[in-house]
């Protein structure tokens, strides 16, 4: 304690702000590392339904996303308003899902394949017909782990 009391009473010396940039940089790097930039631009508008019994999706690198919804405003002129499937950065047909799953699998390690999950992000107004088709395709592709993307909330 004596160390601190040595020059007490002389008045407080100005606190050095020289390390302030370092602290801020540390924070900056933290946010830079944790930030996940959206890889895909959504062409379909999606408002996922609410649910209470939800689970967190773990291991984001092993999740492939299938987006289903009606095209966003600026795309409606060329694609209409009927519900469509989006894989990666383009609209797709139901038949392209198997191929999509295959390419997703190729990119991953063989050991990780059984843990891969397919997240279905669908708008709540979508009809089940299209979802059923997607599910059938996933079954054919043997991608059986799925997750219906929802947000937490009560009805």
């Amino acid at each position: 304690m004596s160390k601190f009391k040595k020059d007490g009473g002389k008045g407080m010396p100005a606190i050095s702000t020289a390390s302030l940039p370092d602290i801020v940089f540390m924070l900056l790097f933290f946010f830079m590392v944790t930030t996940v930039m959206r890889e895909t631009t959504l062409f379909v508008s999606i408002q996922t339904p609410k649910a209470t019994e939800i689970k967190k999706l773990e291991k984001k690198s092993l999740v492939s996303y299938i987006y289903i919804g009606s095209p966003v405003k600026r795309m409606q002129a060329s694609y209409g308003t009927a519900s469509r499937i989006q894989l990666n950065d383009a609209f797709a047909n139901v038949g392209e899902i198997q191929e999509f799953i295959a390419t997703e699998r190729e990119a991953k390690d063989e050991k990780e394949v059984p843990y891969m999950t397919t997240s279905i992000k669908a708008d709540e107004t979508v009809k089940m017909g299209i979802i059923t088709d997607v599910k059938q395709e996933l079954r054919k592709a043997n991608a059986l782990k799925i997750n219906y993307s929802t947000i937490k909330g009560e009805y």
């Binding site: 946010f31 967190k56 709540e124 009809k127 059938q136 054919k140 799925i146 997750n147 929802t150 009805y155």
Partner: protein, 183 residues
């Protein structure tokens, strides 16, 4: 070189913090910390073509049939039901333990069969899935409290497994077909 250098004043690093702050704020604003959540389900594998499926051996009382039609109405065990009653209905069915004639023999044998129409809205489907999951979760939680005095999520792995074998979540979705007709 050295003589020239001496004349240069040191660059003021005082504004470094401001620049870093600016970047920091940019990343703070753009960061989306949203964790993806959802209802996890496992699809059944495609049935073998040369092996016809026979589900006749399952006693009819052990199947709880939930149908959703294209106008989002529920038909549960042949009766129209409101979604708000589904959870209680499912719980009664699963936890019947052979008491009532038409409900399940025990939770291990209980199967919920869910069928929807192509015209059913996704929102309704998720609501039904959610209610059924809620029924199972509540039953698991209750038995966890009875057996271990803790909530299900606080149990360790082996205890969880024990509860899960008592209340296996069997939600079967039939091969898709058109029940509502008009779609």
């Amino acid at each position: 070189m050295a003589s020239k250098r001496r004349g240069l004043p040191e660059i003021n690093a005082g504004s470094m913090a401001d620049i870093a702050f600016l970047l920091l704020i940019f990343f703070l604003v753009t960061t989306t910390m949203d964790i993806d959540t959802g209802i996890a389900r496992k699809l059944p594998p495609m049935p073998d073509e040369d092996q016809p499926e026979d589900d006749s051996q399952i006693n009819a009382r052990n199947i709880y049939v939930v149908l959703i039609n294209s106008s989002n109405q529920l038909l549960v065990e042949g009766e129209l039901m409101d979604i708000s009653q589904l959870k209680e209905g499912a719980k009664k069915f699963i936890d019947n333990n052979g008491v009532r004639e038409n409900l399940s023999e025990n939770p291990e044998k209980a199967i919920i069969s869910l069928q929807n129409d192509r015209g059913t809205s996704y929102k309704m489907y998720i609501r039904v899935q959610n209610e059924l999951a809620a029924a199972y979760n509540e039953l698991r939680n209750n038995s966890a409290l009875n057996m271990f005095g803790e909530r299900y999520i606080d149990l360790n792995k082996t205890e969880k497994k024990e509860i899960r074998t008592m209340y296996p979540q069997k939600i079967s979705e039939a091969e898709p077909k058109n029940i509502g007709g008009n779609s």
